[in-house]
């Protein structure tokens, strides 16, 4: 009996457990997933909570166990340490040691507001909020229900962040939300980013470049946040520039799991060094890394975890039969971008190809429009939650290809 151990039952871990279960002979393979709790969050839904579009946990949370196939063992426990030299993982529950033949690390990423002095202190969730956690998103929804206006500053602390388009979506939805509540003229919207623009890829910049002006969203660029002055309500950069706020929405530093750090197998942000085109861990031949846990330049997003899962499965089935891994992972990502007022954009890109205009997934037909605003794109995003729970997590075929296609894109 060979053992596959999957650490983390989020998007990547759950869909890979389902896919492996579908493909491997249960008399030969035993699949085990370890996660600390039984709460699986649909993270794209967090964005909707502050604006009352989703109401709370009930709209974004389900049991992990419910999405694990029968025959896959789910252990709910903290993970103590990964010991790749011994092919084993130690967990807290009953001090067990779990040996493995193959390890799949899908431990994800999380916000680390404690990395920035002043951020998560006495003003945390009073005048400073986050929306990348369910508790933060709910706290912010309560704040926005009574907020009378002022200077709302959204700050990306440092790169890389997960779901890189979420800050833009937040600002577009905020513009819409304050319009709806007749407060827009009392609210100043300011986005503060370490990059040199809101759009840094040439085609997106040329097509969407004016959208911030149209929505009257101000932009502060190349701002690397060193600290927050919670009493003076100021962001302070490492080069000593300041930005004043009344209400701060922070995208804190994003880091990989502490277990990666405890195990000594990560980089400075606890992401695991991973082979760019195969998803195998750089330093270990029987360890693979998927989803946000990698150190790859692909986006940290559910769609990436999904496409990685497809490419990984094909490669893994070759690998266990003694064939070489193929360099088939292309960094493909696909993201809806809510733009407010019932409309949205869609972007599709990979390591080498920037977001381009066109139609998706059927070339020339759509129904979705790439890099263009449409009502259909918004509905795609709203329907996607159903697709996530019922098709994607269960490892069923989705009507899109894992590797990016140039068909339907306009050069």
């Amino acid at each position: 009996m060979k053992r596959i151990l999957i650490l983390g039952g989020g998007t990547a871990g759950t869909l890979v457990a389902n896919k492996l279960h579908q493909e491997l002979d249960p008399d030969e393979w035993r699949i085990t997933v370890v996660d600390r709790d039984d709460r699986h969050f649909y993270q794209p839904g967090f964005l909707f909570i502050p604006f009352g579009i989703y109401k709370g946990k009930q709209d974004v949370m389900r049991s992990r166990r419910r999405y694990m196939p029968r025959g896959v063992e789910l252990i709910l426990s903290e993970i103590e340490v990964i010991e790749p030299d011994k092919n084993q993982v130690r967990i807290k529950k009953n001090n067990r040691t779990l040996p493995y033949d193959y390890l799949i690390i899908t431990t994800g990423s999380h916000t680390a507001p404690e990395e920035t002095p002043g951020l998560a202190e006495h003003e945390w969730r009073k005048s400073i909020f986050d929306f990348y956690t369910v508790d933060g998103a709910i706290a912010l929804s309560k704040k926005l229900r009574t907020w009378q206006g002022g200077r709302l500053v959204l700050n990306i602390t440092e790169m890389p962040i997960k779901c890189p388009v979420a800050p833009l979506e937040f600002m577009f939805l905020a513009d819409w939300f304050f319009h709806e509540h007749n407060l827009r003229d009392k609210v100043e919207l300011v986005m503060v980013t370490p990059l040199d623009g809101a759009f840094t890829k040439p085609r997106a910049a040329s097509i969407l470049g004016n959208i911030l002006e149209e929505k009257n969203i101000k932009l502060v660029t190349e701002f690397n946040t060193g600290e927050v002055d919670p009493d003076g309500r100021k962001l302070i950069s490492y080069d000593e520039r300041t930005v004043d706020y009344d209400l701060l929405i922070s995208i804190p530093t994003i880091m990989g799991s502490e277990v990666i750090e405890r195990s000594g197998i990560g980089d400075e942000l606890n992401f695991v060094p991973t082979e760019k085109y195969t998803l195998k861990a750089k330093h270990f031949d029987n360890v693979f890394v998927l989803g946000d846990a990698t150190d790859l330049p692909s986006s940290k997003a559910g769609s990436v975890a999904h496409f990685e899962g497809e490419v990984f499965l094909e490669n893994f089935l070759r690998y266990i039969d003694g064939l070489d891994l193929l360099p088939t992972w292309d960094g493909h990502a696909n993201c809806y971008i809510e733009s407010g007022f019932g409309k949205g954009f869609l972007i599709d890109f990979n390591y080498d190809v920037e977001p381009l205009p066109g139609k998706y997934p059927l070339p020339g037909i759509g129904p979705f429009s790439l890099l263009q605003e449409s009502r259909m794109n918004h509905w795609g995003k709203m329907i996607f939650r159903w697709m996530y729970w019922n098709i994607l997590l269960k490892g069923k075929p989705m009507p899109v290809t894992a590797e990016m296609s140039m068909a339907g894109k306009w050069l």
Binding site: E158, M159, P160, P164, V165, L168, P194, L195, D196, F199, T200, K201, P202, A204, L208, T221, E222, N224, G226, Y238, D239, D267, E268, L269, P273, K276, P297, S299, A333, C335, I337, I347, F349, P355
Partner: protein
């Protein structure tokens, strides 16, 4: 004498192929950025080149501040306003970008 015009640059004005980099390239970009490169600048640039040789990627700003031996505050004095972009340019990497 080489000038910036002789280099193969990408649409952002950064070196198109990081393998074309030489110390002279850094000097040319430095002139253009109005920077005079000191030993401390070179410590950072050489660190980034070493990391690129090892991993094929530009290290994050956090990695540079933790491992190059130049502390954060000093880094911002050496490469004022947008150190990530300036360091990338001087070390022959492409411009730091988001996904859109």
């Amino acid at each position: 004498m080489t000038t910036l015009a002789d280099l193969n640059l990408d649409a952002d004005g950064y070196l198109a192929d990081p393998n074309d980099w030489t110390p002279e390239v850094a000097e040319l970009f430095a002139q253009d950025l109005g920077l005079e490169l000191t030993d401390r600048h070179w410590q950072v640039i050489n660190y980034v080149r070493d990391e690129f040789a090892k991993n094929g990627e530009m290290p994050s700003l956090r990695r540079i501040t933790k491992q190059s031996g130049v502390p954060t505050k000093e880094l911002y004095k050496l490469f004022p306003k947008g150190p990530a972009g300036k360091i990338a340019k001087l070390a022959g990497m492409s411009k730091p970008k988001g996904c859109i």
